[in-house]
Symmetry: D3
Subunit: 132 residues, 6 copies
């Protein structure tokens, strides 16, 4: 019952995102620098985990955009700023609108409660830069 998976087609590159938003650029720079170090460690199970993670968000029965927004919901209710930044950016690159991102965050807010609010505030700052 598994649907074919396909790589998503991005409307914007990471470089374009980094040009649009300072917060996004700083996040992407740090993430890329730290990931290079992880790559050099060359741990077999970490690499397989990264690959499985990549496959989870491909086009399938649900669109890649829908699943990136779901990743945003999961990241927000589990309260991980780096993960929130990542999925906001990915959703943006796949054409999600600001209201769609806000509604995804609303689901995380009601499920996760006020403990989510500090992360919501920071997410809204990134959204303001991306959708300016």
């Amino acid at each position: 019952m598994t649907t074919d998976r396909q790589e998503p087609k991005y409307l914007f590159s990471e470089t374009q995102v980094a040009e649009k938003s300072q917060l996004a650029r700083r996040f992407l720079d740090t993430r890329n620098r730290l990931n290079e170090n992880v790559d050099q460690a060359d741990n077999y199970l970490v690499k397989r985990f990264y690959n499985l993670d990549h496959n989870t968000y491909m086009e399938g029965a649900l669109s890649a955009k829908s699943k990136e927004l779901m990743g945003l919901v999961a990241s927000t209710c589990l309260r991980c700023d780096d993960c929130i930044n990542y999925h906001v950016i990915q959703s943006y690159r796949l054409g999600a609108t600001a209201p769609e991102q806000q509604e995804a965050i609303n689901v995380a807010l009601i499920v996760g409660g006020s403990i989510v609010v500090p992360h919501l505030r920071r997410a809204y700052e990134l959204l303001a830069e991306l959708y300016a």
Copy 2:
């Protein structure tokens, strides 16, 4: 930047769901019984919370079905069986297919890790009954 909200149109009633699946019926019966007791306590802030929760999943910039699936993602990565049952049923009532439900659970699995697996197993049991 808030989109108009509208009540979703369900393809199936709770009664139809309960007739299709024993697991769903048992869950809905217990939930309804306990909610009656909460109603009788008549706590103002609880009632407002329930109302806000209801409003979060209405049709809007994202479809009600998409948001119920997002509720499923949040419930699964936060590991709440009752919440998983609820959002699987709601997604089913709004026309989500089995592969769509599975892909939502896949996002929760990769974000939340193997600690999610016992809940995934129970969710798949409910999915098997609903989509038999």
Copy 3:
């Protein structure tokens, strides 16, 4: 800056609680049975942890009742039914009223979100029996 600690004075014994509420009795019976087994294992660090836990809820700068209600808030937003049952019972034994218990749960609900709701429903069932 540590205040003197004193054992709290309970208005009701565990036996009286168990006579008032079936849910409480079943919880206390299971808890006592399992704790006997933990006692027999006689693990030094577990015993010290239990002792430290006991000391945390004694009369001090804050009343024992206030701290049991705080234990209820912590248990509810961390979503542990056994811990919720325990602190509802302890708060009841120390004279907390039903509205006080509900307001403590309200704090946990707004902080912890809808993922708390299934636990709130079960807590309200116990409250209904205790304050009938």
Copy 4:
């Protein structure tokens, strides 16, 4: 069974808190700046959530001070520094003493374990400035 709610009477304004503690000022400044951005986004459900959150901590069956200390317990065992800062400040503004704040944190420490300790350390730094 809902008690009347009333706005609490603060002993200190946010400005007075910010004058007393550098850590508090930096926290309040960032929080206010980010909240302005959230306000501008004008999301209906976020505004309702903020309002419900505000109502939860009003004077009622339990005092506002008691509920702010409960918010501190919840924030500490859920490990959110921003939330901890907020509830420490609110409790201070409502007249909580340093030993009362410490005892609330003690409940969160025993319930939440050593994973709470880094947050406890930072909370104690803020307490030292506020109660100097």
Copy 5:
């Protein structure tokens, strides 16, 4: 820097465990029944996740026994009874002693706090049956 992985050599089969402990048998029966249903759903990403999970606990730089005990620590501080049962059984099958299992649980208790205690109680019940 990845060490070769090898399948662990178990001292006891699942059948032997189920004969020794009623709690273990009930757990393994339910787990196997639900896993059959997951197998039939045949979801590609779930199967890959299960496979990656299996590979994580193989003999390597750390022994399989050490990693099963680490799985027990993770499961206990994340408070998942099914996961605790699984790793207690796996550790037993690989020759972990009762004091080793207790010390692993002690780490989870101090890190995770009293919210862990109800799970510790149930884990000790399983340990009592396995090491009788």
Copy 6:
């Protein structure tokens, strides 16, 4: 059934660790500064908790090194950077190799999911400095 506990013998002092790694030095400096403030507050229950925490990681049925690695697993799946830094350093001081640390983190990654990845990235940066 409790084994005798003994203080572990460290291969490296905290000073040697701080000389080897900038990240470790910054972490240890901040931790020591904040702990001095906690010491001055002189809270009885916090001191007892610190003491119990210290006792948990002593040599016993499991080696101190094994338990520090277990502390690393718990810290990583509960996602606390300070705790991760602490247990990586303690494990290093007790002679854990880089592959052993990576395998402990692998257990936390599979149990805890991708939400763990940002912490894994930062842990790998510290590992790179310590094992350079």
